[in-house]
Symmetry: C2
Amino acid sequence: MTQAVRHDSMRARNLGVVLHEIRRSGPITRAALAEITGLTKTTVSKMVGDLLGGGMVVESGALREGERGRPGTAVSLSGDRVAALGLEIGVDHLSACVVDLTLSVRLRRTQAVDNRSTSPVETLHHLRKLAHRAVDEARSKGLVIAGSTLAVPGPVDDGLLRAAPNLGWRDVRVGDLLDFPVTVENEANLAALGELWFGSGHDDFLHVSGEANIGAGLVVGGALFRGARGHAGELGHVIVSPGGPACHCGGRGCLEQYAGQEALLKAADVLGGIPELVERLRGGETTALRACDRAGQALGVALTSAVRLTDPGAIVLGGIFAPLFPWIGGRTRDMLTARLAGTRQAVPGLGVSRLGGAAATLGAAGQVIHRIIADPGAHLTTTRPGTA
Amino acid sequence: MTQAVRHDSMRARNLGVVLHEIRRSGPITRAALAEITGLTKTTVSKMVGDLLGGGMVVESGALREGERGRPGTAVSLSGDRVAALGLEIGVDHLSACVVDLTLSVRLRRTQAVDNRSTSPVETLHHLRKLAHRAVDEARSKGLVIAGSTLAVPGPVDDGLLRAAPNLGWRDVRVGDLLDFPVTVENEANLAALGELWFGSGHDDFLHVSGEANIGAGLVVGGALFRGARGHAGELGHVIVSPGGPACHCGGRGCLEQYAGQEALLKAADVLGGIPELVERLRGGETTALRACDRAGQALGVALTSAVRLTDPGAIVLGGIFAPLFPWIGGRTRDMLTARLAGTRQAVPGLGVSRLGGAAATLGAAGQVIHRIIADPGAHLTTTRPGTA
C-alpha cells in the first residue's frame, strides 16, 4: 500500500472520528472537536466544512467553551437532509421505510401482496413502485435518499439471493430488477439490527425471526455477528434430532421441521395461517396446543445449542413466535432452564420483540445510516454537487 | 464523561494508532508517522519518545523520505525487551512459554504432572515454580515480562474458574493462588487464538480443542468471538440427540457423551488413554473403530449445528481429535457434506491443528502481547521507571 493511499484512508477515518464525536457530543464547537480528537484545528475545520456541505451536520448557534475564550459556533448532527430507504420483500407483503441521519423514522409504507404466486420480476416491479413513492414523499420533506437496503427471506451471497423457499425463488440477483442501487441482505440479520437500533435497547441478544424460514440474528456488543460468509444465524437448520423428519435443506430433524410455520400449521391441522392458529389456541383446541408444545420443545433444544455456541445475553422472539409466545414460550423457557442452569451463572432471558413486522425494514434503513456515519467520506464523495 | 477523560482516552487511542503503524510499516520516520496518522509532529514525537522509553520500539538508523528533505531516524517494533508469559494447566501437564513483542516464541517449558490427583493449591504451587523459572530465564535474555495469561480447562467468569470437571475443581479463584498478576481464561478460547497467531494462517475458523471437555473457539476476521459473557464455543454441550445419555451439565445427549475423551474410551473399551486407543485403531480393532465412528458421527451433527449458527470459514480439529483424525475425520466430513452441501456454496473445510498441545499456551502469551499493542499507554503507565 502506498503512503498516499494510507493517507487517504487515515483522512477518511478521521472524518469518521469527527462525525462520531459530533453525533455523541453535539452541539460542539470546532475547537472542542480538535481538543478531543487530537487533530489540528485546520483539519477539523476542513472536515466540519465538508460535513456541513453534505448536509450531514448543521450549525446550531454559539457555544462558550469554559470560562475563557470567545464563544464558538457549535455543530450538531442534522436530520434534515441525509436519509435512507429500507425495503422488505415478505411472503405476503412489501414494505418501505425512510429513516433520517439521526435515526428518526420519517415514513413507513406497507402493501399486502401475495408474493408466493408472483415471479421475481412481478414482485420487484411492485417493490420499485413502492420505493419510488417513498422516495418522492421523502423528497417533499426535503430529504435526500443516500442509499437503500432490501431485506429478503433467504441467504444472500454478494447480492445474490441464493434461495427463498417460501417465495419459491432460487438464485435471483434481486438488485438487477430494481432501477436504483440497493444492498440486498438476509431479513433475519436486518431484523436483529432493527431490534438493536429501534427495539428493546439491549446490546447483546439473539433475535429469532421468520415465517416459513426460521432465521436468527446475533447481536453482541451492539454489532451484528455475521460469521465468515454472512450466513451465521441459520437457527432453522440447527439439528433437533438427527433421525427426525427430512428437511428441504438435505438434512434431517432440523428445527424448521418442528417449529417452522408450515410444520406447525400442519401439526395443528390448521389451513388458514397463523391468525387462525392463534384463534384455535385461544379456544383451547388440543391439537393446536400439542403442536405448539412440540414446537416450543424443539425451539428449546435448538436454542440450547445456540446458547452453548454463541452465548447471547438474551433471546428475543420475533416473527411467528411473537403472536404464538403465550403457547410456546413457557415450554421453550423450561427447556433452556433445565439444560443450562446447571452450568451457567445466568440463563439468557426469553422475551418477545415489540417491533412486530417492521423489524427488518427498520434494520435495512438503519444499516444505511450506520454505514454513512462510519464512513462519511465515502458518502460525501458520491454526493458531490452535480452528482447527487 | 468529562472532556478531560475523553481527551485522555483519545491520547491513549492515538498512542495505539502510532504503535500499530510502526508495527505495520516500520522502520518508519516520525515525519512519515505524522503524515500517515494526521497527528501533529509534536504529538508523534512525544509518543515515539514514550514508546522508546518503554522499550517497545527501537531506533533503527536513518531513512530518507522521498526526494527532498533531510533523512530522519526510523523506528521499528522491538523484540528485545517487552515480553509475555503464557501458562496452561492441563489434565496431565503444566506448560509455560515466553513470547516477545514481535510475537517470536522465546522459550517453551512443559512439565508432566497428573493434576487429577492434586488439589488446586498443590497444582498452583507447581505452576508458580514453573512460571518463576520461565521469568528468570527470560530475564537472562534481557526480556521483561509485561503480563501473563493462564489457560484453564473450563469456563471462567471474571477470573473465577467455574468448573473444571476433568480436574475435579469447582469455583476456584486461580489467580489468588499465584504470586503474580495473571489473566485467567478458558483454554478453548486461547487455543483458538494460538491457532490464529501461531498456526495455520487462517483468519476465519472454528478451532475444536479439549481432552475430557470438548471446547471450541471461533475466530472471525482475525478476532475471537466470545459471546456476551465469554462463554461462546461450548461445543461439548451442543445437543446431538435430545433423548440421549445424561450429561454432567444437567442436559441429555450432549456431544461430550459421544465424543468426549471419557465416553470415547469407554465405548472403545480402553483403559489406558488416547495413545492406547490410537494403537488399537492402528491394529484395526472393531470396538475401537466403532467407537470412533460413533464419535465422528456425533461430531458431524454438532458441527453442522455450529456451522449453521456461526458460519465458520473452516474447521480445525485439535486436542484429542488431532491424533484420532484418521479414524474420526472421514465420518465427520461426510456428515457435514450431507447436511450442508445442499444449501451452501461451500462446506467449511475440515483439518487438523499443527500446534499439538502448545496452542493454548501460545494463545495465552499472544493475548498479552496483543493487548499491549492495542493499548500501549496502559502498559507504559504500569511500567514507569521504579514500578517495573
